[in-house]
């Protein structure tokens, strides 16, 4: 292979960041050392240094202690343990990896949260002899709290339990049962012996009963946290670039979504609007900026914008509020005290904020909610914060880049905690709830859905009247019912005559109609159901509003597509004829527009597909998305 080809190959690799966590003796450093060693990321002189160190500090007798490749600091070598977050790098022909190596010590939960904050996936180590430990549960919870959805459970030291398949399966089952309470999209269990390399790079012949991929193969195939270019456009202004009297640029990293030249943007929280005049880059100006890119925007109008403001699309704004509820991980010995003033850094905005009340502390071992007056080191709680000024933000689940903050002590300047926004608190709600402490439902949504072997979802069928929305939705629901899934279909028949019978067909009423349907769909999704909704829902903004109500990935927009001529020729209810005759006003497609989805998850063309074929497409899609298990 020529060097240019090799560079080309390297240039095209993507990047997976993962965190490793486990109890002190689970063999984590050995596992990482083995990955680095076997993937040839260790240079000869490093290895000879490790061999030398092995004789001095090693725990493997005469053999080279691969853990020493990883354990960096002198003090921890002396204690024989890892104490902080360390980052390791290796790559394979298809992917580059960054490992955040974090400690198993109970008192270092904060480091785990740190490592998990930027990770796409987590590798959780379990000692096959000991099975799940308190630490395993704690680590899994933190990983889930930080929004990681892909988990690899590496059950290590299988050699010490005679490669016993039953032992492995018991631990896997224990883990699955526990993890049901958490929000993982996928859990991959595999048996390994990190010390000897079994199931690390290649399948081990000592455990022929394990048919899955080895650890490295698994890591190569895991999805990365989606670059959120499909989310709403969010651009926290980081730095105002005043190059000359005629250049004023707003530099920052696109946190989510994308924006194009000429698009209209709004500055929040001020609410002023303007247009994108230029996307300025060293390598030449661009037409578009996408999530993850660091760019400089120039705007058409001269309006006052400073660091900490956010540029968004006027039709997809973040929440703006003076108070918020957030999950907080506390990271220092001095406790978090309500009423005390801290600074928080949320995106590019730093402001003072006061924790008003602690809703509850979450016991990381049992996940129980407990009433507490203060928050101590390594504890996690839902806390209400009062901000010094209105700020724009999203929920952490919707957009981590605009929903995460760090808490800074105003006197010591230390980073004392990390927060993840759950929801904004509007003033009226805050006032009312002074005496009402908000409790989470005892039964989590994921538990309700898990009981039904499915993930909640809202399948939103949209399209012209007569395109086949109801027919396909009905047929799909029947198919789901026959397969034992729990679903509910919302359509004109059961909504227009009851819940929404007070609504007509004016623009306002149409918006309210969709809003109510969206809220009902959300409640049903909360109950763990697969919700199907079949309404024309002609306006993009309305559908976007419903999408916003749901958790990321929950809303599936399905465009049921057929030409207006076809729909009119079908005319199952004779509505087109009446609309053409002028008997019905504001009829979609005739005298009211239909705004087709720009990026639907699924498109069904009912001019070429039968209803049965549409159902098959949808079932495949739902399985690929793991909505159906």
């Amino acid at each position: 292979m020529s060097i240019e080809t090799l560079l080309q190959e390297h240039a095209e690799k993507d990047l997976l960041r993962f965190i490793t966590c486990g109890s002190v003796d689970d063999g984590k450093s050995t596992l990482i050392g083995r990955l680095l060693f076997d993937s040839r990321q260790v240079y000869e002189d490093q290895l000879s240094a490790v061999e030398r160190d092995s004789r001095k500090w090693g725990t493997q007798g005469e053999a080279t202690d691969l853990a020493l490749l990883v354990d960096g600091l002198q003090s921890e070598r002396e204690q024989g343990i890892t104490i902080d977050v360390a980052y390791r790098y290796f790559s394979t022909p298809t992917r580059k990896f960054i490992i955040a190596d974090t400690p198993g010590h109970e008192q270092y939960t904060r480091n785990m949260a740190t490592g998990a904050s930027t990770a796409d996936a987590a590798v959780i180590l379990v000692d096959a002899r000991r099975g799940l430990q308190t630490q395993t549960r704690r680590h899994s919870f933190i990983v889930s709290l930080l929004g990681i959805e892909q988990v690899v459970v590496a059950i290590n030291k299988m050699d010490l339990v005679d490669y016993d398949q039953a032992r492995f399966e018991n631990i896997c089952a224990d883990y699955q049962a526990f993890a049901d309470k958490l929000d993982f999209a996928a859990i991959h269990c595999l048996p390994v012996v990190a010390l000897h390399g079994d199931n690390m790079l290649e399948q081990s012949d000592r455990m022929p009963w394990y048919q899955g991929p080895p650890l490295l193969g698994l890591l190569e195939s895991l999805p990365t946290r989606q670059q959120r270019s499909d989310g709403q456009f969010r651009f926290p202004v980081q730095y105002v670039n005043r190059h000359s009297s005629d250049f004023r640029g707003f530099a920052g990293t696109v946190a989510s979504g994308q924006i194009e030249l000429g698009e209209r943007v709004m500055v929040v929280p001020s609410g002023r609007q303007t247009e994108v005049a230029g996307i300025v880059c060293f390598d030449g100006n661009r037409e578009r900026a996408t999530a993850g890119e660091a760019v400089t925007l120039t705007l058409t109008d001269e309006i006052d914008i400073s660091r900490g403001d956010m540029l968004v699309r006027p039709d997809a704004r973040p929440r703006v509020a003076e108070a918020l509820d957030a999950r907080v991980v506390w990271m220092v010995d001095q406790p978090l005290l309500t009423g005390r003033q801290y600074d928080i850094k949320l995106g590019t905005r730093t402001m003072s904020a006061t924790p008003e009340l602690i809703h509850h502390r979450i016991d990381v071992n049992t996940l129980e909610h407990q009433h507490v007056e203060q928050l101590d080191l390594n504890e996690i709680a839902l806390v209400r914060w009062r901000l010094s000024a209105p700020a724009a933000f999203d929920s952490y689940r919707t957009c981590p880049a605009t929903g995460a903050f760090v808490i800074i002590d105003r006197i010591s300047n230390l980073t004392v905690g990390a927060g993840m926004v759950v929801r904004p608190v509007t003033d009226s709600l805050a006032d009312k709830s002074q005496n009402v402490v908000w409790h989470e439902h005892r039964i989590a949504k994921s538990q309700r859905a898990g009981q039904k072997s499915q993930r909640p979802a809202v399948l939103w069928f949209t399209g012209l009247s007569g395109a086949g929305k109801s027919s396909v939705a009905n047929a799909l629901e029947m198919a789901l019912f026959q397969r034992g899934y729990h679903s509910y279909l919302l359509d004109g028949d059961n909504v227009r005559h009851g819940l929404n019978r007070d609504l007509g067909f004016t623009d306002e009423d149409r918006v309210e109609n969709i809003r109510r349907i969206g809220e009902v769909a959300r409640l049903m999704a909360d109950a763990g159901l697969v919700v199907l909704s079949a309404f024309i829902s002609p306006f993009r903004a309305d559908r976007a509003m419903v999408r916003e109500l749901m958790e990321p990935g929950e809303f599936v927009e399905i465009h049921v597509q057929a030409s207006l001529e076809t729909c009119e020729s079908r005319d199952p209810k004779g509505l087109y004829a009446r609309a053409r005759a002028g008997a019905i006003r504001n009829f979609t497609g005739i005298d009211s527009p239909y705004e087709a989805p720009e990026k639907p998850e699924v498109i069904l063309d009912t001019e070429t597909l039968s209803i049965e074929e549409c159902v098959d497409v949808l079932l495949d899609y739902l399985k690929s998305r793991r909505i159906l298990v």
């Binding site: 240079y43 270019s229 850094k345 880049a401 760090v406």
Partner: protein
């Protein structure tokens, strides 16, 4: 009929992600600190860092000066290159030399690498930071270079003595960096933390970043001493009996003070040759530097004391 792709995720390559991350870090410093400075060592990592800084503030030049801590023992080619680049990018270049050290005649041959590095580099850097009152200093260090670096934060806090406390670092989550300091304290900032050596080379190639000629093989006068190939860059080397500089095809994998930086034999005269050699090399990058040859965590010791 089609199942539309899951959102329109435009996939960024790892290098594009690293670039965006570094630019974000550099801008964050410019926005939050009163008096930042970019340490410029003339080496390839410095070159990449400077290039990223130019990108971060384009069309303006970076809003901070460059600082070169000059031990007076750098290769001549490095001085020439340094002055040319600073002029090209239009940034202020500050050069600091520890005049106490000069007065005492400190040098690697007379005092050994440990004392020379401490006085002319570590102490000199602290002097410069104090003299100008910098509250943030960019460095081009990467976490993959050395074990103790793997644990260092992107924003690495230094106390008034410029010391690093590896056991008491600020937690660093997401891309939310805490740049708060009291007067006299400072932050060392490492925008290239997550880059590997191959990433650096790849980026230099992709962006066509200028490099000191010393990185490329040429015939240079060399003596072999203690297994290290020393280039005789000026007349200050006390030659031992029997030692005579001979021309050999060599190049440098890292650049430092010439008496402390070993050359490697090489025929790599182009950037692609160098990258090819780098990929195949089986010795880690810092091996050519005499200062890392102490037992165990020597770099950690130096950093605790304020070495970059």
């Amino acid at each position: 009929m089609s199942v539309a792709s899951q959102g329109a995720a435009t996939r960024m390559s790892h290098l594009a992600m690293l670039e965006a991350e570094a630019i974000h870090i550099i801008r964050e410093v410019a926005a939050e600190f009163t008096r930042p400075v970019m340490l410029y060592s003339v080496g390839k990592d410095s070159g990449v860092m400077l290039h990223l800084a130019r990108k971060a503030f384009y069309p303006a030049p970076p809003p901070f000066p460059l600082l070169h801590v000059d031990t007076t023992w750098k290769f001549r080619a490095m001085y020439e290159f340094r002055d040319r680049i600073a002029a090209e990018v239009g940034m202020e270049l500050l050069v600091h030399i520890n005049q106490d050290g000069v007065a005492q005649g400190v040098g690697p041959f007379s005092h050994g690498s440990r004392v020379h590095t401490d006085i002319m580099k570590t102490q000199s850097l602290k002097q410069a930071l104090d003299k100008y009152g910098f509250d943030a200093a960019f460095g081009g260090a990467r976490r993959d270079e050395e074990r103790s670096r793997a644990k260092e934060r992107v924003f690495s806090f230094r106390d008034r003595q410029h010391a690093w406390d590896p056991k008491n670092q600020r937690p660093e989550l997401w891309n939310l960096y805490n740049g708060r300091v009291q007067k006299g304290e400072s932050i060392r900032v490492f925008p290239l933390s997550n880059w590997t050596e191959l990433d650096i080379w790849q980026y230099i190639y992709q962006e066509d970043i200028p490099m000191v000629p010393l990185y490329f093989a040429a015939e240079r006068p060399v003596v072999e001493r203690d297994g290290m190939l020393l280039m005789v860059d000026d007349g200050r080397i006390p030659l031992q009996p029997g030692e005579r500089p001979r021309p050999r095809m060599v190049r440098f994998r890292t650049l430092g003070c010439w008496p402390l930086t070993g050359a490697v034999e090489s025929t790599a005269t182009t950037l692609l040759d160098v990258i090819e050699e780098t990929i195949q090399v089986k010795h880690s990058e810092r091996q050519g530097r005499a200062i890392d040859q102490d037992v165990g965590a020597s770099m950690e010791e130096k950093k605790r004391q304020g070495y970059f």
